[in-house]
């Protein structure tokens, strides 16, 4: 199923920035500029944002508003970046976070 809502019965067509390319774990991916990184990843079917440091358990979006830190990733080399509240920009380098304690 297409993850993006093409047209919503109440909200109409989602208002989005321009389509840009970024890298996710080394591969090219696409999303809309200004949307949270997590939205672009969810649209691409990515659920896992990180693996916990000790038990290596997968984590993804939980609150989507920047509170729980479940969604942190490595963005442009910086660890523990909350993907749900960090706007996507062209050329960003986004990586699944492994083996780093989340904040």
């Amino acid at each position: 199923m297409e993850k993006r809502i093409g047209e919503h019965p109440i909200l109409g067509k989602p208002q989005k920035g321009k389509l840009v390319t970024f890298t996710f774990d080394g591969a090219a991916a696409q999303g809309y500029e200004g949307e949270p990184i997590s939205a672009a990843l969810a649209a691409a079917g990515v659920s896992v944002h990180r693996y916990t440091a000790k038990a290596h358990k997968p984590r993804g979006i939980f609150c989507a508003i920047g509170r729980c830190t479940d969604c942190v990733m490595v963005v442009d080399g910086e660890v523990n970046v909350r993907a749900c509240v960090t706007p996507l920009r062209a050329g960003m380098d986004v990586k699944t976070q492994r083996g780093v304690s989340a904040v």
Partner: protein, 527 residues
């Protein structure tokens, strides 16, 4: 350190309303909100709100947010976004993190309107990707246009769980079930009914045993619980889902108030720890006020009123308003608040099992247990007649504060005596079939029936907020209140009108004896 007359924390309905009242009286006002977008909860709410005209009923939540923002901007309120308030001290010093920078501000008065945070619940697999909060689901689909999943199980049958389930359906997701450990639906029955009639099953007295999956949830198991919330072996039900959505309550976020030394109390009926506040929102700390969900979980409508009171009180505290004006405003707003706090869902009655409506009608038990009023029970409230001519069938069976149906009818066909009274039809039925009541009912509980359109058929007009909108001539099936197929149906009309504000009206033709049962339509292709 930058100084303001009034600093408001949180740009939800309470904070915006407070800032508006302060600014109107000449206070130099700033609002800080940690979000990228202002509006708090309102911006995720795409349904029409309950209440009466004064409470902006039948307007969708996000529109109310836009109206408040425009008003605040017009009055010169400064709204600073991406600004998390991380400290509040007794001297009304406010510490704000804006991006990387930490800034200090001084307010002569401070209003805290930080709202609430979602509660979590723990079960095996609760931490798997795909297990998300209801608020997260709303944020993803309504703000970012991305479906949170394909097949969803909703845990929680309070208003949040019910509203978000409906929103998931609107976004094109499948909701496999709504489960809740409570023995009865906690939210408004009408919110449950509009979900149930699309075919979603309700499991009350059920909770989640475990979620399974590798890198994402792929199944969830629920089971029945007894009165002491212990699992009953052998009652397990397993669903293949990719998403589990949690809507298990909200807790007021009063950390900042605690930090400022305000007295807080543990009041379970208000959602947990709340500040001790007086009638004007004043806390125990001088010049610090609280309004909205932070001082007790309620509604946006009451949050706006509390915000207004706190805004005026702050102005009075600073000498920008006279006490008489404050007293008058308090009296007026308290009257509006008490109107809202009537009926079966009044804050003081939360958790009570209500057996009879205020009118003395036995409530629908099926509504509380299964999410829909069954065919036998509905006869206590309304009935469709098999005669020609239009007649609104109002399936509103609980005393909730809401009356737009009365106000929109151009022929005054509908009476709602007190705001929480059940709507009644006037004896003399002058219905012209305009459909305004069907479109404006926030609970989507009104249907228009023309009991005889010839050939043994009746027309049923229902509210329809899904895409694609079926077209005239489409064939399909009618579903009953319980979401089960009741008969074949044909679309005789699909109406879109700006007066209906996106609640389209679908008129289906069904055998006349089904007019009292057919409440939803599925096209042939979609069955």
């Amino acid at each position: 350190m930058k100084r303001y007359d009034l600093i408001v924390v949180g740009a939800g309905p309470a904070g915006l309303s407070a800032a508006i009242e302060g600014a109107k009286r000449g206070l130099k006002t700033v609002i800080f909100d940690e979000n990228e977008k202002p509006g708090g909860q309102l911006f995720k709410q795409i349904h029409k709100f309950f209440g009466s005209k004064e409470h902006r009923a039948k307007i969708r939540g996000f529109k109310i947010g836009e109206e408040l923002l425009a008003e605040a901007a017009g009055l010169g309120v400064e709204v600073v976004l991406n600004a998390a308030v991380i400290g509040l001290y007794q001297e009304k010093e406010v510490v704000v993190r804006i991006g990387e920078a930490v800034r200090h501000y001084k307010g002569d008065a401070v209003i805290v309107a930080t709202g609430a945070t979602e509660n979590a619940v723990y079960f095996e697999g609760w931490d798997l990707p795909g297990v998300i909060g209801a608020g997260a689901a709303q944020t993803m689909m309504n703000l970012h246009g991305v479906r949170p999943g394909e097949k969803v199980l909703m845990l929680g049958a309070g208003n949040v769980g019910l509203v978000v389930s409906f929103q998931l359906l609107q976004a094109g997701c499948e909701v496999v079930a709504v489960a809740d450990a409570a023995s009865a639906v906690g939210g408004y029955g009408v919110h449950a009914a509009k979900v149930a009639r699309t075919g979603v099953s309700f499991y009350l007295s059920h909770t989640i045993i475990k979620a399974e999956g590798g890198d994402r949830v792929n199944a969830v198991t629920i089971a029945e619980v007894d009165e002491r919330f212990q699992f009953i072996p052998g009652t397990e039900k397993r669903f293949e889902v990719d998403t589990v959505c949690l809507a298990v309550g909200l807790s007021p976020m009063c950390q900042l108030l605690k930090m400022a030394g305000c007295r807080v109390l543990e009041i379970p009926a208000k959602g947990g720890q709340v500040p001790l506040v007086g009638t004007r929102g004043e806390t125990s700390a001088d010049g610090i006020f609280a309004a909205g969900d932070v001082s007790g979980i309620e509604e946006a409508s009451s949050a706006m009123i509390e915000g207004r009171i706190a805004g005026i009180a702050a102005a009075e505290y600073l000498g920008y308003a006279v006490n008489a004006e404050l007293e008058a405003a308090i009296a007026e707003n308290e009257a509006a608040l008490s109107e809202l706090r009537q009926g079966m869902f009044a804050p003081g009655r939360r958790g009570d099992m209500v057996e009879f409506t205020d009118e003395g009608i036995h409530v629908s038990v099926s509504l509380l247990k299964k999410g829909y009023v069954n065919d036998e029970e509905i006869a206590r409230f309304t009935s469709a007649s098999e005669t020609p001519g239009f007649r609104p069938i109002i399936e509103c069976t609980q005393n909730i504060p809401c009356n737009p149906c009365r106000d929109v009818c151009p022929r005054n066909c509908i009476k709602v005596e007190s705001i929480t009274a059940l709507p009644r039809l006037n004896e003399y039925n002058a219905c012209s079939g305009c459909g305004l009541c069907v479109a404006s009912c926030p609970g989507q509980a009104i249907f228009l029936v023309n009991g005889d359109v010839g050939g043994g058929f009746a027309n049923v007009t229902l509210p329809y907020e899904f895409l694609p909108l079926p077209k005239e001539g489409d064939r399909g099936v009618a579903l009953g209140r319980d979401g089960q197929v009741v008969c074949e149906a044909w679309v005789s009309k699909a109406q879109i009108s700006s007066a209906f504000d996106k609640t389209n009206l679908l008129t289906i033709k069904v055998p006349a004896e089904m007019a009292g049962k057919a409440r939803f339509f599925k096209s042939k292709g979609a069955v």
